[in-house]
């Protein structure tokens, strides 16, 4: 399954990239499941993020979403800390 992943602000700094094309070995149904797979396969920061996901927000295809919203092939997934504009 292919996804486009974006990180912003503190997560971008922590992970050292702002966007990446991800090719997963299997299909995931939600951002939560995506994090679970990544933390199993890549470990490190991903485990941290999975455990602390309540501190972060997720957007699917540029709409705010919840960790359990459905994602499908080709979706753009963005993960970021709470918004602080204005």
């Amino acid at each position: 399954m292919n996804l486009k992943l974006l990180f912003f602000a503190s997560l971008r700094e922590q992970f050292g990239f702002s966007q990446k094309e991800i090719a997963l070995s299997r299909t995931v149904k939600s951002p939560e499941e995506f994090l679970l797979i990544m933390s199993k396969e890549s470990g490190g920061e991903w485990i941290n993020l999975f455990n602390n996901k309540k501190l972060y927000k997720v957007a699917i295809n540029k709409d705010l979403a919840s960790w359990r919203n459905l994602i499908v092939e080709g979706d753009e997934l963005a993960i970021f800390p709470p918004i602080t504009g204005g």
């Binding site: 602000a9 957007a59 963005a78 709470p82 504009g85 204005g86």
Partner: protein, 151 residues
């Protein structure tokens, strides 16, 4: 509806005066937000604002539409800066024109309140002591919830 995301400084004044010259405008309400010199007793050197291109515009359009559905307004202009900003610099402007003033007040406050929680901007404050990502204000979340109660 006009939504502008830019690095450069902008003039709230010019926008207000342009809106006021259009037909049937009785009221213009503007909000402008500025970089404060102090954040939690630390003297700010500068601020960096990052955003999520594409989603920013999408979320602001949706916020503007919600405001327009609730209040009879003529025009709305939202301008937000990104990049490096200095103390006292303007960050954001929300300008709304309407026939009668209450609609402009409500729509303007609604737009900036939802911009604060739903439009993907992030601020980093750089002082002599440290560089910190600004954390969300509980007050902002509460204000958004209060609007939702009114729906």
């Amino acid at each position: 509806m006009t939504i502008i995301i830019q690095e450069n400084v902008f003039s709230i004044s010019k926008i207000i005066s342009e809106l006021s010259k259009k037909d049937n405008v009785g009221a213009v309400v503007s909000f402008s937000g500025y970089v404060r010199e102090f954040s939690k007793e630390k003297k700010l050197k500068f601020m960096e604002i990052e955003h999520y291109p594409g989603m920013t515009e999408k979320s602001l359009e949706s916020i503007e539409k919600k405001a327009r559905n609730q209040w009879d307004v003529n025009e709305t202009i939202i301008v937000h800066r990104v990049g490096k900003l200095l103390p006292k610099d303007i960050i954001v402007g929300v300008i709304v024109s309407s026939k009668h003033r209450t609609n402009a007040f409500k729509a303007c406050e609604f737009i900036i309140d939802f911009l604060k929680t739903d439009a993907p901007f992030w601020k980093k404050e750089i002082s002599d002591e440290d560089k910190v990502w600004v954390s969300e204000r509980q007050e902002d979340i509460k204000k958004k919830t209060n609007w939702n109660k009114l729906d």
